[in-house]
């Protein structure tokens, strides 16, 4: 169980990026966060990842308070961020130094096979397409078998076709060990496709606005009536979140929240 309680972040320049977010996520659930710019989505993931410290409130994973990067928490960034001087296989094995060499190689091979990149282990990152690189990044985060995986708009730079195939890869990988996935996205369709729960955030300062119900089964029927209905509910909530009055004085989002 991942528990956010009263999580708040105010940057030194006074920008309040996140205000009092409280949320329980049971182990294995896929939660998508959508919201307009400045809603603190990225900040929230950075706090959970331990890359930044909360101003107030805390993050707990199975009762343990997280304040620094934790072995049970993996992160996938918007860009693949592969290390260009390591081969694909070395990149995937980067976080597995603790394992024996044989075990590490076995895990890497298995992971490559699972995302359709068998035989790519010896390539350099620069030889990969954008979609392949992001697949490697996803695998790199998942081979360490984290309990929680944070994804910050990981598919936003990809074309629609590649994105759809990565959605399938992600769900396939998720089914193997059922980590909790927290996904930040701009894409409502993506949220409905992947998530068990969709949470709409409201900007300035970022906080939870609504949690529209989904009522969908897996695998998703993307052309079905229920799917369209769920999308419509989320879009309506998003609309509301942008029109709702802000309790604090609105401030321009400053570039303090970059990844």
């Amino acid at each position: 169980m991942l528990r956010l309680s009263g999580l708040s972040k105010t940057y030194p320049n006074g920008t309040q990026a996140l205000a009092d977010v409280t949320l329980d996520v049971p182990q294995g659930e896929i939660v998508a966060f959508v919201g307009g710019s400045g809603c603190g989505k990225t900040t929230m993931l950075r706090l959970i990842a331990g890359l930044e410290q909360a101003s107030k409130g805390r993050v707990e994973l199975d009762g343990e308070t997280l304040t620094a990067p934790h072995p049970a928490v993996g992160v996938i960034f918007q860009e693949p961020r592969l290390l260009p001087w390591l081969t694909v296989a070395q990149n995937i094995g980067f976080g597995l130094s603790a394992l024996s060499r044989a075990e590490r190689e076995a895990r890497v091979e298995e992971a490559l096979l699972r995302v359709g990149l068998a035989g790519y282990g010896g390539r350099w990152p620069r030889e990969l397409s954008g979609g392949q690189a992001q697949r490697v990044a996803i695998v790199r985060a998942l081979v360490a078998r984290p309990k929680v995986l944070l994804l910050d708009e990981p598919f936003s730079a990809l074309d629609a076709f590649t994105r759809a195939s990565l959605h399938e890869h992600l769900i396939g990988l998720w089914e193997a060990h059922k980590p909790t996935l927290l996904l930040v996205t701009h894409d409502v369709e993506e949220a409905v496709t992947l998530a068990d729960r969709v949470i709409v955030l409201q900007p300035k300062p970022g906080r939870i606005f609504a949690e529209p119900t989904l009522d969908l089964t897996r695998p998703r029927d993307k052309v079905g009536h229920d799917f369209a209905d769920a999308k419509r509910r989320i879009l309506a909530a998003l609309d509301g979140s942008l029109q709702a009055p802000s309790p604090t004085r609105p401030r321009e989002e400053i570039a303090g929240a970059w990844w």
């Binding site: 990842a49 890359l51 620094a68 990067p69 934790h70 072995p71 993996g74 992160v75 960034f77 860009e79 961020r81 290390l83 260009p84 001087w85 390591l86 081969t87 694909v88 296989a89 070395q90 995937i92 094995g93 980067f94 976080g95 597995l96 130094s97 060499r101 590490r104 190689e105 890497v108 091979e109 282990g121 010896g122 390539r123 350099w124 990152p125 620069r126 030889e127 990844w259």
Partner: protein
């Protein structure tokens, strides 16, 4: 190399070799670059044979090569070249090591940068040759002052390169290291070092070039052996062929040293090399 880095060695072994020397054999097109100097040399030789040019100031290629061959046969060439090489090597090692240490310090710590960099930049503004009188006063006219001068010449380009490389390491890549909970040492070894290596190699190569520049200055100032001495001796005795022979020796030595440095770095920079090949395999 850590055990994690070798994780892929098995799967990589299956891939076709990359960046090997075989792929770098000169192609006919690369030989085009030799056409102009060969044509000029041949033209000059013919002009000389026809009596069209005065050979005293610029000897024809045949005479230059005769001089080179004579120097090589008598062993003088080896003596002078190795004296020069030893100076460049010593100066390069001292200068580069100091530059890498200081550059790493100022590149990674803002405090060290504010503290040290202004002074170093001020010293950099002094033309290196202007140190010569002081160095001779301090260290005498023998090896120490020469090596010091070369070290100073090597120091600044390497220092700037290392500092700049560290300061410009992509923070996003560093963050990947943080997510994987690398401590400071592991972060330096597994992220920073490989990230700055290409820039450091370039800085070292330009430092080496300056090392050769300053060894000439040092040897012209006064030496009893070295290629610079050969230059000066040729000038004083009016032996233009000896001067040109020394110039050729400098060019060849410089190119060989630069090539060795580049070749030593290549195994670590193979990941940069793969661009041309990617299309063919992809």
């Amino acid at each position: 190399m850590s055990s994690a880095d070798t994780a892929a060695s098995r799967s990589r072994a299956a891939a076709p070799p990359r960046g090997g020397f075989a792929a770098r054999a000169p192609s006919p097109r690369a030989l085009l670059g030799l056409l102009l100097p060969l044509a000029l040399a041949l033209g000059y030789e013919i002009a000389f044979r026809l009596g069209l040019v005065e050979a005293r100031l610029l000897p024809p290629p045949s005479r230059v090569f005769a001089t080179l061959a004579e120097l090589a046969r008598s062993g003088d060439l080896l003596t002078h070249a190795s004296a020069t090489l030893a100076r460049v090597f010593a100066g390069f090692v001292f200068g580069a090591v100091a530059a890498i240490l200081l550059g790493a310090l100022t590149g990674s710590s803002a405090l060290a940068r504010r503290l040290l960099d202004p002074t170093l930049q001020a010293l950099r503004a002094v033309p290196s040759l202007a140190w010569v009188p002081l160095f001779i006063m301090w260290f005498g006219i023998f090896e120490t002052s020469k090596v010091t001068l070369i070290a100073v010449g090597v120091f600044f380009p390497v220092y700037l390169g290392v500092m700049g490389a560290i300061a410009s390491v992509d923070r996003k890549i560093v963050e990947v290291g943080r997510v994987f909970r690398l401590d400071r040492v592991a972060l330096a070894r597994r992220i920073l070092l490989p990230a700055i290596l290409p820039d450091v190699v370039i800085a070292l190569r330009s430092g080496l070039g300056l090392g050769f520049m300053f060894v000439v200055a040092a040897e012209i100032m006064g030496a009893s052996e070295g290629l610079g001495y050969l230059l000066l001796d040729g000038q004083q005795l009016g032996k233009a062929a000896q001067i040109v022979a020394a110039l050729i020796a400098f060019a060849v030595l410089g190119k060989i040293c630069d090539g060795l440095l580049a070749a030593a770095a290549r195994p670590f920079l193979r990941w940069q090399d793969s661009f041309a090949r990617a299309g063919g395999e992809g």
